[in-house]
């Protein structure tokens, strides 16, 4: 049953209707086969991203004047949630792509916005976000990738190794953070690096436990040239940009985790009404019905948390703590709800014949990326105890 949504505008209602149509016609019929194929070898849902891009769903939260949808986060995130309920890897891709344009929309100059955004927001392009490194995960400030001024000092050459990069090898541009000085926190700068340089190579795709269609690999920069005009913000402003982008990105992950949990709950509830044991539907046992009730409460709570943070953001108010709370609650809810969904299905839930074991594997990563849930607690506690 579709989730009841109270959208702030009728445009929002139309967007949800469009998203649901595309999900049911394009995403749901493909997800199982595509995820299985990607687990075996490399496969990336390029066509699906193209469809979403043409429908205008790849650039919803960005300014209309440069080709974005001009939508508030309250609407954009509910679209991500709907997509996640059909195909988690694709929803994560939409969120990551949105994140890649964020530094330009928020910190770019007018010239940079005019030059870069029309392509990035066209729906034809996909971005990658290069922050993490093999030795710098949670501790972003310890990154070693460097951007050195080149030749006459107007351009840069980037050298280093980025790890865990979603869309690596498929992206049209790489929003990249690299060191321009040795100062830990204030020595990092942000660059938009176009794909296609010979000096940029990729590691083998990581063999992950799930989310297979989110291709993740290392990006190796061996003196990749970048025009000075592609540096976003001042030298040294990179850390502030990265953290600000992550506040927004976390809401994308929170909404995706909510959608994932919702679809696991939907499968479990339908199964519980059908499956007969002891001569009656298993749902008629209160012990099981209450498990389902707790799943619903967890999903609804997750949705409320990310929508609250989104409304603060849309109103221009601080939302960093609320975004961290939403990411923590929603991803923990996704883990719990997908685990319990397997429980509701019993042995069937533990097999690949039903989607809940896949959702369970997909849920796990949401507690890890865009800041682990320990890091979210760090952010929250610093706000509360300040």
């Amino acid at each position: 049953m579709p989730v009841t949504r109270l959208m702030p505008t009728s445009d929002g209602d139309d967007l949800i209707a469009l998203t649901r149509e595309i999900c049911s016609k394009e995403l749901r019929p493909r997800v199982d086969d595509a995820e299985r194929a990607a687990a075996e070898g490399e496969s990336f849902p390029t066509e699906v991203f193209r469809t979403l891009g043409q429908a205008g769903l790849l650039s919803l939260p960005h300014p209309e004047e440069f080709g974005g949808g001009g939508q508030p986060y309250e609407v954009y995130l509910q679209v991500v949630e709907e997509i996640a309920s059909a195909w988690m890897s694709v929803a994560v891709g939409v969120s990551v792509h949105s994140l890649t344009a964020y530094p330009v929309t928020t910190f770019g100059t007018d010239e940079q916005r005019a030059a870069l955004l029309p392509g990035m927001l066209s729906g034809d392009q996909l971005g990658a976000y290069c922050l993490s490194e093999p030795l710098a995960g949670s501790d972003v400030g310890s990154m070693t990738t460097r951007a050195n001024r080149d030749g006459d000092g107007t351009a840069y050459a980037i050298k280093g190794r980025k790890a865990w990069i979603s869309h690596a090898g498929h992206a049209d541009y790489y929003t990249t953070f690299a060191r321009t000085s040795d100062d830990a926190g204030r020595g990092i700068s942000c660059f938009i690096v176009p794909a296609g340089s010979d000096a940029m190579t990729f590691g083998a795709p990581e063999k992950k436990m799930g989310l297979h269609c989110d291709t993740v690999r290392e990006v190796i920069f061996d003196g990749v040239p970048v025009d000075g005009a592609n540096r976003i913000g001042d030298e040294g402003q990179g850390m502030a940009i990265a953290l600000s982008a992550l506040d927004a990105g976390r809401l994308g992950i929170a909404s995706a985790a909510t959608g994932l949990a919702q679809s696991a709950l939907d499968v479990a509830a339908a199964y519980a009404k059908e499956r007969q044991q002891f001569g009656r539907a298993i749902a008629s046992n209160q012990g099981l019905a209450f498990l389902v009730a707790d799943m619903e409460a967890a999903v609804s709570g997750a949705r409320a948390a990310y929508l609250y943070a989104a409304r603060l953001k849309d109103a221009g108010r601080p939302f960093s703590k609320e975004a961290a709370v939403a990411k923590l609650l929603a991803t923990d809810a996704a883990m719990k709800v997908t685990t319990d969904a397997i429980q509701v299905l019993g042995g069937a839930g533990y097999t690949a014949d039903f989607p809940v074991e896949r959702m369970f594997r997909e849920a796990k990563v949401t507690q890890i990326f865009e800041g682990t849930n320990q890091i979210q607690r760090l952010v929250i506690s610093r706000h509360v105890l300040r």
Binding site: D14, L18, Q54, A55, G56, L57, G69
Partner: protein, 263 residues
């Protein structure tokens, strides 16, 4: 090129469709409706023609109040303007009456003339009669080329490919003409978000039978040539025969198949 596409608003095939208890007509109240999926191909083909050259696409629908959603969807996909013919008296109209109303609407939409091209789907997904295109062409006095799986325009001619079981025919007609298209002809686009926003500003005209000069006595349930006198829900499928394999499962299966004359 002036193109009119005729589309229908139908009950969602995914939902539980039924008939109206009161008069045995299709129940359009109790279920979600949408633009007939087979008509999306007609809209897409018209848009492709318009985009390839110059042209204006007008969508026309005949149906109850909610039927306006069918033309709205077409506007979101990119059609330029829309006409919704709605009148209490239309309720229960059969294919012949529908084609009469459509013919008058098409002419009026084309400024009391004939458009260069009328495109329709090959049938609706609810009635599935597939006769309206032919009837409409007849009423408009246009050549009809139906079941097109490919459509090409050259000069003042249209040629189509019609795929049959044994052969594929290529059929040519002068313009203006009416073409009905199959679900093989193209891949209908989804509306884009921008298309949805733009559609809100596109004109939708609502016409009554009086606006079209159609006598209400010639349409509706009372004028229909055929009537549904009763309906009954198809009985739910009975459970099949279960055979427990006690070593003789193969034999029992063969016996069952031979009893059903499959072997």
């Amino acid at each position: 090129m002036n193109i009119v596409v005729c589309v229908k608003y139908v009950p969602d095939a995914q939902s539980d469709r039924s008939f109206n208890e009161a008069d045995n007509t299709t129940d359009r109240e109790g279920v979600e409706g949408l633009l007939s999926e087979l008509d999306e191909y007609a809209v897409e083909e018209a848009l492709k023609i318009a985009e390839a050259g110059e042209g204006e696409v007008t969508v026309v629908t005949v149906g109850p109040e909610q039927a306006v959603n069918a033309v709205k969807k077409a506007l979101q996909m990119g059609a330029h303007k829309a006409v919704h013919v709605s009148d209490e008296a239309i309720h229960g109209s059969d294919a012949a009456a529908t084609s009469l109303i459509l013919a008058e609407a098409v002419k009026k939409a084309a400024g009391d003339g004939t458009p260069d091209l009328v495109i329709t789907g090959m049938s609706s997904t609810d009635g599935v009669m597939g006769v309206v295109p032919a009837m409409l062409a007849e009423r408009l006095g246009l050549p009809q080329v139906t079941y097109a799986s490919e459509l090409t325009l050259h000069g003042d001619k249209v040629s189509i490919r019609r795929d049959g079981d044994a052969a594929s025919e290529t059929i040519e007609s002068t313009l203006p003409a009416l073409v009905s298209v199959t679900d093989q002809i193209n891949e209908p686009r989804y509306p884009s978000f921008k298309g949805i926003m733009a559609a809100k500003k596109k004109p939708v005209e609502t016409w009554s039978l009086a606006d079209l000069g159609v006598d209400a006595g010639r349409v509706g349930l009372d004028a229909a040539w055929t009537k549904v006198t009763s309906f009954a829900k198809r009985p739910p499928r009975e459970q099949g025969q279960l055979v427990t394999d006690e070593g003789d499962g193969g034999t029992k299966l063969a016996e069952f198949l031979s009893a059903q004359k499959f072997l």
